[in-house]
Amino acid sequence: MAAVANAADRRAEVRRERRVAFADVRTVWFIALRQLWERKLLNGIAIGGVVLGILVLIAMNGIFSGFSMKFTMAILKISPHVIVFDTELRPQPSILARHEGTFVATSVAHEVPSDRQARIKRPSEIVRALQQMSEVRAAAPSLAGMALIEYGGKTKSIDIRGIDVDAQQNVTPLNQFVKKGSLGALAVATDGIVVGSGVAADLGLHLGDVVHAAAPGGRPLDLKVVAIIEAEIPPVDKVRAYALLRNVQTLLGKPDIVSRIEVRLWDENQGFAAAERIERMFGYDAEPWQETNGNFLAIFAMQAMIGRFIVAAILLVGGFGILAVQIMIVLQKTRDIAILRSVGLRRLDILRIFLLQGLIIALIGGAIGDLLGKLALIQLAKLPVKMEGLVKSDTFLIHEDPSFYVYGVVFALVVGVFASLLPAIRGSRVEPVDVLRGQIG
C-alpha cells in the first residue's frame, strides 16, 4: 500500500519537475522575445551587421564560383582530361653512356642531344590500350605545333592541332563550339582548316577563305576555312586551329608522327589518379587537366581565399555589432536582471535569455541576409558586363549554390552565440543584492 502511494508520489513528483522544467524554458523564451521586441532599433542595428555579412557571403560566392565554374566547364570541353606527351619518362641512355664506368667508356663528358624527333611510338596501339582502361572514355592521337598563317597580307602565329576528327570529337566535343561551317567538312575536304573565332577576327577570315600556312622544317600548305569555333575562352579562341593529322604532319615536316594522345575520362575529377596510372602503364608523361590549367585554377583558388577573408572580416564586424549591442543591454538591464533573480530565476535562466536573444538576432539576420543575397544574385545575373579575359561573357556569371544559404545561417548562428556569450555570462553574474540595495541608506 505504502509502496503504491510512494510510486504515485514519485510519478506526481516527476510530472511536477517536468512541468517546472518546461515552465522555465517557456518563461525564458517569453522574456527574451518580449525584450527583443521592445528594443527594435538596437536590435535592428545588430541584425543589420549580420545581414551585411551574409549578403556579401552569398553574393561574393555566387560571383566567384560562377566565374570559376563557367571557366572550368568550358575548359573541360575544349581541353582533354589527360594528355599523354611524347616525353618518355625513362629514356634509354645513349649507347656509349650505357657503358659508362666500364672498359668501353669511363665517362661521357658531353652528350650531344640526339636529333631524333620527339614522338609517341606506336600511337594506335596505345590508343587502343587506353580505351581498354576502365576510367577512360575516349582517346585520340594528335600532333600539336606552331605555324604561321597568312591571309590578305596579314600573318598570325597559331597553335595548330592535327587530329583524327571523329576520335578527337569523342575526346573534346568540338562541334559544340562550331559557330560557322561544320566539323564534318574537315573530314570530307582534304585541305580544310578550322580556326578559333579570335584567329578569324584578327585575320578577317570567313568560311571558304583560303589561308597560306607554313612552319619551319615543313612544307607550306594552302588550307580552306571550313569552320569557325568559339569556346568562349579568349586565350584558346585567339590561337587555336585544327586540321587533319596528315596535313599537319606535312605542314610541320613530321611525317607519321603523333606528339600526344588526348584522353577523356568518365570522371574528370579522377584526372590525377588516371594520369598516374597511365604513366605507369605506358612510360610516357601524362598530365591531368588540373595540371595543364594549373595557373588558371590557382587564380580561382586565390580568389576564393580572398573572398573567404572578406566574408570572415564582415561576419566578424557583424559579430562585434551583436557583442556591442548585447553588452549595452546587459549593462542597461542589471536592474531587471536583479529583479528576475529575486523572483526566482536562476543564473542559467539569465544566461539563456541573453544567448537566446543573440541567437534570434543572428537567425533573423541570417534569414534576411539569405533573402537579400538571393535577390542580389538575381540582379547581378542580369547586370550587363562585357567580359573578355579568361572567360567570355555578356553578364555576370552567377552560380547559385544552395548550400551557401545554409552556411549563411549557420555562420550567423555561430557568430551570434560567440558574440552574446560574453554579455550573457556577464549578465548571469549580476549579484542581485548589489543592485537591489540601491544606494546605501
Binding site: R16, R19, V20, F22, A23, D24, R26, T27, F30, I31, R34, Q35, W37, E38, R335, D336, A338, I339, L340, R341, S342, V343, G344, L345, R346, R347, L348, D349, P432, V433, L436, R437, G438, I440, G441
Partner: protein, 247 residues
C-alpha cells in the same frame, strides 16, 4: 514550527578588496513567528538591508544560521535558493522594480509562470492580487504609465500573488509621498493581519514602525531594541542578556 524565520548568530563580513574585512552584522539572533508584521528600523548603514537580503536568501552569511520555514539556507546552492525565493518569498524594494517591457498583469504573473503554474491560473491569481490592491483597472498598462505609488502597489501585488510564506520589503514607502506611503503601509498591515502572512519591512518611518506588530531596531550591525506593539523598547543591556541566555 512556530517560527517562520529563525536567525542564529548571523555574521556578515565584507572583504573589501584587500582591505581588512568589514563586519556589517555582528551575530544577529532573531525569531519571527508566523503571521507577524515586523518593522526593522535603524539608522542608515546600520545593516537593515543586509539582514533583510540574508533572510530573503539573496545573500550568503559569513557565519551563523538562517532557517526559513524549517529549511537552513546555508545548505542550499544558488539554484535551490532561487527556487526557494520563487516559491516561498515575496520581495518589495524601495525603487519599485518592475520590468518595463511587460504590462502590469505580466509583471505580477511572471514569477508564477516561472514556477510552472498554468498561465491562465497564474494570470487569474495575478488579477486577484491586483484587485486586492485596487489596481485591476490598470492591468494592461505598462509600468511607465503608472504613478510611483501605483508602481509600488504593483510590486506588492507581485510579492503577494505567489502566495508566499514570507514577504520582505526594503523601505517600500521610502520613495513615496505621505499619502501613497500611508496606502502602501495599510496594504502591508492588511496582508499581515487579514491574510495571516508574515511581513518583515524595513522602514525609516517611526510612526509606521510603532504601528507594526513588532519593532526591531538595529545599530551598527547589532540588535539595539526589540518591542511588541505598545511595549516599552527593551534597553540594550537587557537585550544583550537575552542573547547570551538563548545561546
Amino acid at each position: 514550527m512556530t517560527h517562520i524565520v529563525e536567525v542564529r548568530g548571523l555574521v556578515r563580513e565584507l572583504s573589501g578588496g584587500g582591505a581588512a574585512p568589514q563586519t556589517i552584522l555582528h551575530g544577529i539572533d532573531l525569531a519571527v513567528p508566523h503571521g507577524q508584521f515586523l518593522a526593522l528600523t535603524g539608522a542608515s548603514g546600520s545593516g537593515k538591508s543586509t539582514l533583510l537580503y540574508l533572510i530573503g536568501a539573496l545573500d550568503r552569511a559569513t557565519s551563523g544560521e538562517i532557517w526559513l520555514d524549517g529549511v537552513e539556507m546555508g545548505g542550499l546552492d544558488d539554484d535551490d535558493r532561487a527556487a526557494f525565493r520563487n516559491e516561498r518569498l515575496g520581495f518589495v524594494f524601495q525603487f519599485h522594480f518592475l520590468l518595463p517591457e511587460f504590462n502590469v498583469l505580466e509583471n505580477v504573473a511572471l514569477p508564477m509562470w516561472r514556477r510552472g503554474i498554468h498561465r491562465d491560473d497564474a494570470n487569474d491569481r495575478a488579477y486577484e492580487a491586483l484587485a486586492l490592491l485596487g489596481l485591476e483597472e490598470l492591468w494592461k498598462r505598462k509600468p511607465g504609465q503608472l504613478s510611483g505609488g501605483q508602481q509600488q502597489r504593483v510590486s506588492i501585488a507581485r510579492a503577494v500573488a505567489n502566495d508566499p510564506a514570507l514577504i520582505l520589503a526594503d523601505e517600500p514607502t521610502g520613495n513615496l509621498d505621505s499619502k501613497n506611503a500611508e496606502i502602501v503601509f495599510d496594504v502591508f498591515a492588511q496582508i499581515a493581519g487579514d491574510h495571516g502572512r508574515t511581513v518583515v519591512m524595513v522602514t525609516h518611518d517611526k510612526d509606521f514602525a510603532m504601528r507594526a506588530d513588532r519593532q526591531v531596531q538595529l545599530r551598527d550591525g547589532r540588535i539595539l531594541a526589540d518591542a511588541r506593539r505598545g511595549e516599552e523598547i527593551i534597553p540594550p543591556s537587557q537585550r544583550m542578556r537575552q542573547v547570551s541566555h538563548s545561546r
